[in-house]
């Protein structure tokens, strides 16, 4: 076979060589040459209805499978529509590669039709990006892009390909060895630091393992559990780490922070040692930084050295891969213990158990009242036995899903954490279901989120990707409304969506999905059972929910984690934080 091919053929060949089985995209003028050889490739192309949808699909796919997700778009508006998903993946360290068309090299800079300075626009939203000017570079660029996306701290990489480069002829060659003198991510942690960490853990009386998405990205859930058990450490799983430790495990305290459980937030607050693994002291976790875990020493394990010391100074910094370092911690701890049990911290465990007894996460479902979202989530968990991939948008429903879904394994919780991208759930669920067709993929979405990206349900039904969506229809932008209630004297500016327009059932049917509605608590279980029984079509269940429900516990933005608000009755006084103080 001749090695002569077009740049476009080389691109598709390079993607095949990386083991890509599916790409999500929308074609257009500049990327057209790449779509032609795609017809002859085993790679499946899922035609999204909007490039942002394609991007979140790639992200959902990467979340669910752990493999690199691929999104494709044309130049100009196609590329700019990918910026939100790219930034989303950047914030949450999701490995994706974006392929964008670009106007021909001789037109670049001339304000050509559908031209945008994609390389410049995407630079701060990607881990790295490329503008390819010679088709002969394609094998190396694609190989490097996948390497960068999937190693070290994973993240998005964009490859911008001018139309003439895609059309040009080149001789295929296998990519040369990757030469990146400035990119050498650490894997193993420094042995002396690991030893220092173990000594500190053995001395501590009130330690907490504070874990982040890095544990899941590294595939370190099994090691996390083994280490927590060995060292007898209570584990907090932040929003991005839900599922890294089974919620049913006695050592697991769940999510901490702004809407975390009282126990998780307070255990961190009172700890004398935070064993931080793959977490980044996000403001939603810390609240006011200077009063965050004031007596805790910090061990900080992260693959990205820039995270260490960024927010909170580390006493023992360890740079490297979370899985590898957890392995090292286990090894050194076992050696130190020499078969003995780790020190008993009876008082600490009793204290934690007391908090759990006194301040559980709870909700009340009045059988005659409006549907509570927590009830829907709890019943869905019961009916599936928790055996599903849960995808969320951003807002109240997301917080309740994180609080009330008992996660038992990693990669089963997909949401937009860092960027907080409303509209994430529908396309991410489609991507997750495409990557994991044998799993139940259920999106728990808000009505505000749903209306941002719901057209991707057309993609789902046309492409035969039967994801399920629960629309938590409270007729408002619920979280924003909650803040207006708390901090803007109940002046509800622009948060009313109404819960009757659109008609979500008819809308679902129009998009080729099954539409179901639940208006009363008694409807919830039958609606969920019906949704779970349908496996050949996407399903949308419209749950008409309580419009006034609020998410608790809550720590006011910028407030101290010592002040966990458990309900409306212990709200801060009106002279407390003012709107201009909170983000």
């Amino acid at each position: 076979m001749s090695n002569t091919m077009t740049g476009a053929q080389a691109l598709i060949h390079a993607l095949e060589s990386q083991g890509v089985d599916i790409v999500f995209g929308v074609p257009g003028g500049a990327i057209l040459p790449a779509y032609d050889p795609l017809l002859d490739s085993p790679i499946r192309h899922v035609l999204a209805r909007h490039e942002q949808g394609a991007g979140h699909m790639a992200s959902g796919y990467a979340h669910a499978t752990g493999r690199v997700g691929v999104m494709v778009a044309t130049s100009g508006p196609g590329a700019t529509n990918l910026i939100t998903p790219l930034q989303d993946c950047y914030m949450d360290s999701i490995p994706v590669v974006a392929i964008t068309g670009q106007v021909a090299t001789h037109s670049i800079g001339n304000d050509a039709f559908q031209e945008a300075h994609t390389w410049g626009i995407s630079m701060p939203a990607t881990k790295h990006n490329y503008l390819v000017t010679d088709a002969a570079d394609i094998p190396e660029v694609v190989n490097e892009a996948f390497h960068l996306a999937s190693t070290g701290r994973p993240g998005p990489v964009l490859i911008d390909l001018p139309k003439d480069v895609l059309a040009a002829t080149m001789n295929w060659h296998d990519p040369k060895e990757i030469k990146l003198p400035g990119y050498r991510p650490s894997v193993k942690g420094h042995p002396l630091q690991v030893k220092a960490a173990i000594d500190m853990i053995l001395e501590s009386e009130q330690p907490v393992l504070y874990t982040g998405g890095g544990v899941i990205r590294a595939g370190g859930a099994a090691e996390l559990r083994a280490f927590a058990e060995l060292a007898d450490l209570p584990v907090v799983t932040t929003l991005m780490a839900r599922g890294a430790m089974p919620d049913s495990h006695p050592l697991c305290l769940g999510m901490s922070g702004m809407h975390g459980s009282y126990t998780a937030t307070t255990a961190i607050q009172r700890s004398d040692l935070l064993v931080t693994i793959g977490a980044r002291f996000d403001d939603r976790v810390t609240g006011e930084v200077k009063s965050f875990a004031p007596d805790a020493k910090i061990i900080h394990v992260d693959v990205d050295p820039a995270e260490i010391g960024k927010v909170r100074k580390a006493d023992v910094p360890i740079v490297g891969d979370a899985k590898a370092i957890l392995g090292q911690l286990i090894e050194v701890m076992e050696k130190k213990l020499g078969g003995k049990r780790s020190p008993e911290r009876t008082d600490w465990h009793e204290q934690i158990a007391e908090w759990q007894r006194d301040y559980p996460l709870k909700f009340d479902q009045d059988p005659e009242g409006p549907i509570q979202q927590q009830y829907v989530i709890s019943e869905l968990h019961r009916l599936t036995g928790g055996d599903a991939i849960v995808v969320a948008g951003v807002g109240q429903h997301q917080m309740w899903a994180s609080q009330f879904w008992g996660f038992e394994r990693p990669n089963t919780w997909i949401n937009s954490g860092g960027l907080g991208t409303m509209g994430y759930a529908v396309p991410a669920a489609v991507g997750a279901k495409a990557g994991k067709p044998d799993e139940v993929v259920f999106a728990i979405d808000g009505d505000g989120c749903f209306q941002m990206t719901m057209q991707e349900l057309i993609t789902a039904s046309v492409e035969g990707i039967p994801a399920k969506i629960a629309v938590m229809n409270n007729g408002s932008l619920g979280m924003v409304k909650q803040w207006q209630k708390l901090f803007y004297h109940e002046r509800f500016s622009a948060t009313d969506l109404t819960n009757h327009t659109p008609d979500y059932v008819k809308l679902a049917e129009a998009m080729g999905c099954v539409g179901i509605r639940a208006e009363r608590p008694a409807d919830v279980v039958p609606a969920l059972e019906k949704a779970l029984a349908i496996n050949d079509k996407p399903v949308v269940v419209d749950f008409v929910c309580d419009p006034d429900a609020m998410v608790f516990p809550m720590v006011v933005a910028g407030g101290s984690n010592d002040d966990v608000i458990m309900s409306m009755t212990d709200l801060p006084d009106p002279a407390g934080p003012q709107p201009e103080d909170v983000i």
Binding site: W119, G120, M123, P124, K127, H128, L131, L148, L180, P181, G182, Y183, D304, P305, A306, G309, K310
Partner: protein, 168 residues
């Protein structure tokens, strides 16, 4: 407080934009920036003078850029720093002699002579440049062009013992 940071980067298209964009995005303040080739054609050196209390995050964020190979902060006294400037000052006939005398003390080169101005070139330690500028200010500075700072570390070689210079 100003810090001098040398950044060795791969000589790739757009690398300056990446560094500048990172500084802007992270809210770091660039006081001056100079870029040029190094002895190795595959590498470029940027000398960045950064205004800020503490450089740990600046250095770590620079390292996060894929094309950054090495970052060094030159602590005061450890590096040799140079700038070049050209300054045009008002120089009426009655002031010319004293202006030229001051310039001579600073070893500033006269590079242009006009009917009512003199233009000097001065390269050297940034402190000396600032002093010369202050000296010229009363006469009236008409125009000023100043380079970014460039810096290189001192080649201090110890002979096994700390702090002892190897005899030449």
């Amino acid at each position: 407080m100003n810090h001098v940071i040398n950044v060795q980067v791969e000589n790739k298209p757009g690398v300056l934009a990446r560094v500048a964009s990172m500084f802007a995005g992270r809210g770091f303040n660039i006081h001056s920036l100079a870029v040029g080739p190094t002895a190795d054609p595959a590498m470029s050196r940027m000398t960045v003078v950064v205004d800020g209390p503490e450089m740990e995050q600046v250095i770590k964020q620079l390292y996060k850029l894929v094309h950054t190979v090495k970052v060094t902060e030159l602590t005061p006294g450890q590096g040799i720093e140079r700038e070049i400037m050209m300054v045009r000052v008002n120089a009426e006939a009655d002031k010319r002699a004293e202006i030229l005398e001051a310039a001579a003390i600073f070893k500033a080169k006269t590079v242009d002579v006009g009917l009512a101005t003199l233009t000097f070139e001065l390269a050297g330690d940034p402190g000396a440049l600032a002093d010369f500028l202050e000296l010229m200010r009363p006469y009236g500075i008409v125009d000023l062009a100043k380079s970014g700072r460039v810096a290189i570390s001192r080649d201090i070689k110890t002979n096994g013992k700390k702090g002892r210079l190897r005899s030449a």
